[in-house]
């Protein structure tokens, strides 16, 4: 059940920072949100056909396949996500089909101010019972103060690391950043030439029961794009809740050769202090994915991940080796299948096999 919960809370909405390899270093090329993910702007929809998808017909990339026209200052998008997973450990064998997401999101822009709202359903496990409840994963106001500076406030995800949608990865899973961990924030982003800077003040969940996040704090990220298609960056995060305070910091990058071969890596160090026990734990987590696009929209990959969030305890040590295939057949559709071999060091150590298949559809 814990395993299912991880998936329920860990897959985020579409965002593909690896598109830097086509000369798109910033999320705002495709998304309404400065930190990416979710609602696509018109340019993002064009790219979904021209750059991401194997096939695509004229006009297919637009909202509702172009059957519904929206004014230029309005963006709409619907999301449906289905997950089939299978996991085997020495003591557990589990297979599940999960409806992950069914949401609608929209934005309205007036002059330099944009309002964004999202509404959908959330499946939660409460005392062993599946509970379905309404959720708004995002709602915020955004002000494009200048060409370079954007300020926004409201509920949205904290900008952290590469900010990929692959939140089953160790980096996001182990550090507590994933879907449905959105918080109320105030954020400023500054974009100049090849540099982008994000600072987010995390106000907390404001008693929003749909969020799994618990912390308040700050996060700052600086990224630098070079040679028109490569990107490096670093993130610092400071968080605090009733039980602990922690600092997380580390570098990340996306490097590619000739667009098709690309490596995405993140490495973070965490320094955590438990306020109750006054025990301090230090450790690391890393996620690495090597991809090769064999044909437009068809991307096999290899993954290597490792974490040990307490140097003094082998029980916190984990490693994972995996392979998979990501396929974007047409605009609106992403298919992803992965196999992972996870090695745990707790309880004298054991291996787990994890297979999952995901269908991601947006309107």
């Amino acid at each position: 059940m814990i395993f299912v919960l991880i998936f329920l809370t860990s897959l985020s909405s579409w965002a593909f920072p690896e598109l830097v390899r086509y000369g798109y270093p910033n999320c705002t090329a495709c998304h309404v949100s400065p930190s990416g993910g979710g609602l696509l702007n018109l340019y993002g929809r064009e790219l979904s056909k021209e750059v991401l998808s194997t096939w695509g017909a004229k006009g297919e990339q637009y909202f509702a396949y172009g059957l519904v026209k929206t004014p230029q200052n309005v963006n709409l998008q619907g999301y449906v996500r289905l997950l089939q997973l299978h996991r085997e450990t020495p003591s557990v064998e589990e297979a599940r089909t999960i409806w992950m997401q069914a949401d609608l999101e929209g934005s309205y822009k007036y002059k330099n101010v944009t309002a964004v709202g999202m509404f959908g359903r959330q499946e939660k496990n409460v005392n062993g019972e599946k509970v379905v409840q309404p959720i708004s994963r995002r709602h915020y106001l955004m002000w494009n103060a200048t060409d370079s500076t954007t300020i926004r406030a409201g509920k949205f995800g904290r900008y952290f690391g590469l900010n990929t949608p692959y939140h089953t990865s160790f980096v996001y899973r182990d550090l507590g950043f994933g879907n449905e961990t959105e918080t109320y924030n105030a954020e400023v982003s500054y974009l100049k030439n090849n540099f982008t800077f994000f600072y987010t003040a995390i106000i907390g969940t404001l008693k929003d029961k749909t969020s799994y996040a618990t912390e308040k704090g700050h996060t700052a990220s600086l990224q630098y794009a070079f040679l028109k298609s490569q990107k490096v960056g670093a993130t610092y995060y400071k968080g605090k809740d009733e039980n602990q305070k922690r600092d997380i910091y580390g570098p990340w990058f996306i490097l590619n050769y000739d667009r098709n071969l690309f490596l995405m890596s993140e490495l973070f160090l965490q320094n955590k202090l438990n306020d109750q026990s006054h025990v301090r734990s230090k450790g690391y987590v890393t996620t690495n994915r090597l991809n090769y696009q064999v044909h437009k929209g068809i991307i096999p990959f290899l993954t290597f991940e490792a974490s040990q969030l307490d140097w003094t305890s082998d029980a916190t040590k984990r490693q994972s080796y995996g392979t998979g295939l990501q396929f974007f057949p047409r605009p609106h559709i992403e298919l992803m299948a992965t196999y992972q071999k996870d090695r745990y060091y707790v309880d004298n150590g054991y291996f787990a096999d994890l297979y999952w298949f995901m269908l991601n559809y947006y309107l």
């Binding site: 086509y22 000369g23 798109y24 270093p25 910033n26 999320c27 705002t28 090329a29 702007n41 018109l42 340019y43 929809r45 064009e46 790219l47 021209e50 750059v51 004229k58 494009n144 060409d147 370079s148 974009l191 030439n193 090849n194 794009a225 028109k228 298609s229």
Partner: protein
């Protein structure tokens, strides 16, 4: 005797100081533009420059033609807008850019080494407007082959080209063009 000397001088100088870069089979032409506010890099490829650059009597002369219809930026809709709405290639004469060079040179191409004169200028005809622009060549000459690029900046407004906007992205006024050269230096 003076007449003989003169004939020898003319013959000698015209053979010794005449060189040319023949791009009649075409040199690749690319352009780089920046789209704001997301600072995206837009690269145009697929077109060629054809022509011959003559070096004679310390003058560099040549005329190069670039077919604008051949450019692609890897996005069909953007290409359509670029060509039809902004470059207006459907209008007579607007489908080509013509770069003319007629310039007094301080030095000709070296036998071997870098050729990168600071003051080379050309006359660019684009979108119905003709304007002098500075050129920045960097050619490595080795074993009779010239390899490198000539780049130059184009300010769109100076050529009466409306600043392109596409799907919320506005292109910066200055675009960099690169002519990629890899050809034999001919006598």
């Amino acid at each position: 005797m003076a007449l003989l000397n003169f004939i020898l001088f003319v013959t000698f100088s015209s053979t010794l100081y005449a060189q040319k870069l023949d791009l009649s089979t075409g040199a690749k032409v690319e352009f780089d533009a920046v789209g704001k506010p997301a600072m995206i890099n837009i690269k145009g490829t697929g077109s060629k420059a054809t022509g011959i650059l003559d070096f004679k009597d310390q003058n560099a002369t040549g005329e190069f033609i670039v077919n604008l219809k051949d450019f692609s930026t890897d996005m069909d809709m953007r290409d359509e807008h670029m060509k039809e709405k902004y470059l207006e290639v459907q209008k007579p004469g607007f489908d080509k850019a013509i770069l003319k060079i007629s310039h007094k040179m301080e030095s000709l191409l070296p036998q071997n080494g870098l050729w990168s004169p600071q003051n080379l200028k050309g006359t660019l005809t684009l979108h119905g407007v003709t304007k002098e622009i500075p050129l920045n060549p960097k050619l490595n000459i080795k074993d009779g082959t010239a390899k490198g690029a000539v780049n130059f900046k184009i300010k769109l407004k100076e050529f009466n080209i409306e600043i392109p906007e596409f799907a919320g992205i506005t292109v910066a006024d200055e675009v960099t063009a690169n002519v990629l050269i890899d050809t034999k230096v001919q006598p």
